[in-house]
Subunit: 169 residues, 6 copies
C-alpha cells in the first residue's frame, strides 16, 4: 500500500485543490488529506470550521469520483519539532508528502519522508486568499470552486459570515 499525504487549510476547498488531488490520486493507493489549522474558524484567514471543510472536501471528491482517500482534521501545535509526530499519530501510515510550504518540507524531510512539490494550477485565481477577497468584495468567486462547495457555503451561510467578520470594529 502506498499512500500520499497532502496538507492544506482549504479555506475554502477550490478547483486548484481538486485538480491536484485528481492528479495525485491516480499515482497512489490512497490519499491522506489533512485539514490543517483545524482549530481555526471565524477569522478572515480561516472563516470555515473543520467540520464545514470536511463537508466541502468529501462532497467534492465524491462528485469527482475520487474514492481512495482518508480525510483527517489536524490542529496546529506550538512546537514545530513535534508536529510530524502529531500528524503520524492521527492519520494512517503514509510514504510521500506533497507540499510547497518550506516549513512542512523541512519538518517531514528531517524525519526521513520523501517530500514532493505540489503541482500548481493558475495560482493567481485558484487561491484561498483570492477567493476570500472576492467573497468580501462581492466579486465573482463561484466559478473558482466546485459546485458542492458552493452548496455547503450556502447551507452554513459561509459567505455572509466572512463578510460580517470583515466589517471593521
Amino acid at each position: 500500500m502506498s499512500r500520499a499525504l497532502i496538507i492544506g487549510r482549504f479555506q475554502p476547498f477550490h478547483l486548484g485543490h481538486l485538480k491536484v488531488m485528481r492528479q495525485i490520486a491516480t499515482q497512489y493507493d490512497a490519499l491522506v488529506i489533512c485539514i490543517g489549522s483545524a482549530q481555526d474558524s471565524h477569522t478572515l484567514e480561516n472563516p470555515f470550521t473543520a467540520g464545514e471543510r470536511h463537508l466541502m472536501i468529501s462532497h467534492s471528491l465524491e462528485a469527482a469520483g475520487i474514492e481512495n482517500y482518508y480525510l483527517v482534521p489536524i490542529e496546529d501545535i506550538k512546537r514545530n519539532a513535534m508536529w510530524v509526530a502529531q500528524v503520524e499519530s492521527l492519520v494512517p501510515p503514509f510514504d510521500v508528502v506533497y507540499s510547497n510550504n518550506p516549513l512542512t518540507r523541512v519538518l517531514f524531510g528531517e524525519r526521513g519522508y520523501e517530500v514532493r512539490p505540489t503541482p500548481l494550477f493558475d495560482r493567481s485565481r485558484y487561491s484561498g486568499t483570492e477567493i476570500r477577497r472576492r467573497m468580501i468584495k462581492k466579486e465573482p468567486w463561484e466559478q473558482l470552486i466546485p459546485l458542492e462547495v458552493v452548496e455547503v457555503l450556502r447551507e452554513v451561510h459561509g459567505v455572509e459570515r466572512l463578510r460580517e467578520i470583515a466589517m471593521s470594529d
Copy 2:
C-alpha cells in the same frame, strides 16, 4: 439531509460496532462517526492511535458496503461544558446522537439534540475491554472483530504492542 452522530473509542473496532453502524446507516442520509479520545494511544485502555483506528473503521465499513459516513477523530477536553461545541466545530452538522453513555446523553441533551440509545449486541463478547483482555491473555479474539481490523492490527503490530504495555514495570 439527516445525519446521525455516533461516538466511540473503538479500541479496537469490533463486530458489535459494525452491527450498530449497519443498522443505523440505513435510517439516515449519513453517519457522523467520531473517534473519541483521539489523543490517547499506547495504554492498556487505549492501545491504538487515532490513525490506526481510522484505518480499522474505514476498511471495515468499505468491506461492509457502508459508504454514507464521515469519520472524524475528536480529542478529549477537560471541560465537559464545552465538549458539544468542540464536536460541532469538527464534524458536519447532525440531527440525532446515538449513545448509551450517561454523560454524553446529558451533554447533548442539554444542547437540544435528540439522543437515542445505541442498540447492543451481546455486550459480554463484543466489548473492547473483553477483546483487549483476550489479546493480552492470548485467548481467541479474531472472531470478534472484522477481518479488516485483524489486518490493520497485523500491519501495525498492535497486539504485540498491547502485550508489551501490559507487562508490569
Copy 3:
C-alpha cells in the same frame, strides 16, 4: 484594606459554607471567594458549572446581607508550583488564606501567606459529598443549603442532571 481568601468547589454551595463566610466576613474589609475547579461540571464530583455556582453564591450572600466580597472562578492547573501565582493574577490582593486543605496550606504558606484553618460546622451533614449523595438517592437535602441555591438548582435542572449522570452506562 485587609482581605481574606477562601477557596472552595461549592458543589453545591451549602449552609456550612454560608456560616463560614458570615463569620469571616465580619473580621476583614472583604472576602475574596474563589470558585475552584471552575473548568469542571457534569460529573458526579462536580455537577454544576462555574456560572451556576456563581449564581448560587452571589444570591445566597445577597440574601444573607453579606456585601463585602469578590467572587472569582479559578481553573485548576497541572503545576502545583504555579498555582498561587495563578490565583494572585486573577483576584484582588489578599492578606490571609483560610483553608483546611493540606496542599493549599503548604502552597500559600511557602509563598509567605498567613494560612488559617476554616471553622467547621457539622461536617457530616454540611458537606458537598453528603448533599450530592442525598440528591442522587432522593433523600432530603433542601434543608442543608440556602433557599437561593434551591432556586438556582431548579432553574438549571441541576438535580435532574446529577441523577442522569449517576446512572451507570
Copy 4:
C-alpha cells in the same frame, strides 16, 4: 430574570465603560460583565491583571451605585467556534449580548443570541488605547477614568509598570 452580557478587556476601565453600564443596567435585571483576555497582563496592550481589573470595575460600580451585576474573568481560547460555550459555562445565564466587535457579534449571533450594539461615548478620548498612550507619554489621563480606578492604579503601581514595559529593549 433578564440579563445582558457585556465583554471588554478594560485596560483600564474608563468613563466610557461606566456610561455604557449605567445606561444598560437600568434596562435589565442584571449585567453580566466579562473581563476578557483575563490571562493577559504586563504588555503594552494589556498592562493590568484580571485581578486588578476586577478591583477597578467593582469599586467604580459600587461608587456609581450600580449593584445588579456579575463580574467574571474569561480567558481567550484559540478556538473561536468554542468561545461562546466557554462563556456560557463560566457566567450566569443571559439573554442579550452587547458588543460592537464583529467577531463577537457573529459568534453569539450564530448561537441564537440577540446581539445589540454598545452605545459609544466620545471614542477619541474614552478609549483604552488613548488612555494607555497618555499614561506612557505623561499626558493627562486621570479625568478619563473613574476616581476609583485612579486609586487602584496607585495601589498596584500600574502606570509605572506600563511605562517600564514601554521602554525599548
Copy 5:
C-alpha cells in the same frame, strides 16, 4: 559520540540512581538524564520541584566525579504517541535508551531506538516510594540517598513539605 538516555522522576534522587549512572556513564561519551514529570511537585508521589531535583542530581554527580552528562527537565504530555518527539526536541541527540518502564520501552522501541534494561540495586530500599514513606513515618532515610541530596532537602525544607502534604484534610 555515543550518548545514553535515562529518564526518571528522581523523587528524590537516591543511591540506586547514582549507582546506575556511575555504571552507565563509563560506557558512553555522555549521559542524557531527563527529569521526568517536571511539571509535578507538592504531591505525595512527586513532592519536589524540577528545580530542586536538578540541584539534587547535579550536586550528587559532581561529588561522585561524574561530569559527562546533560540534565534536562521534561514535562509529561497527554499524547503518548508524541512523547518521544518531545524528548528528542529538548535533549541532545542520543543512541540508546535505558529504561525498565514498559511504556517507555514500547514508545522508544517503535521509534527505532535501542532500549536496554536499567540495572537494579536492592529495589526494596533504593526506591523513591520507600524513601518517601520513611520520610513521612520519620523512619531513617538519610543513608539511602547521597549526602548532597540531604543538603538540598534541608535547604528547601523538603521533608517538612512532604509531611505537611501527607496530613489528611
Copy 6:
C-alpha cells in the same frame, strides 16, 4: 550560595553571550542559564531546538573553562503574571536576575528580585538576528560564534535548515 539567573533564546549561542557569562560567572557561586522559548524551533527567529541549543551552550562553556552553571530549558507561557513562578519551579534558587528585556525586568522586579542590566559587547555584530541574517545570505558568520557552536551546527545541519525555511512558499 549566591546564584545569578540569565535568560536568553540563544539562536544561536554567540561570542557576546559567552563574554557575558565569563564576566558574570566570576562574581557568583553559580550561573543559572535558562534556554528561553524552548518550545520553538524551525522558524526564522528560532531555528534551533532546545536540545541543539543545550549542546551549543554546554560545549562552549566547557571549552571556556566555565563549570559553575545550571542549564535549563524554559517554555514560554501565555500568562506573563505566572512566568516567574514557572521559572522558579524549574531552576535552582537564585538571587539576582541579569536582563535588558523590559518585560523580564518588570516581572522579576515585581516579585522582589534584584535585576541588573546585562553588559553588552558590540551588539551590531554579536546578535542572533545579525548572525541568522548572515547565515541566510551566505555572508561570514563563523567568527561571531564559538568554535563548539560551529561544530554543533554542522552536526545537526543547522544552517541548511535555516536557509530552507527562509525560502518563500
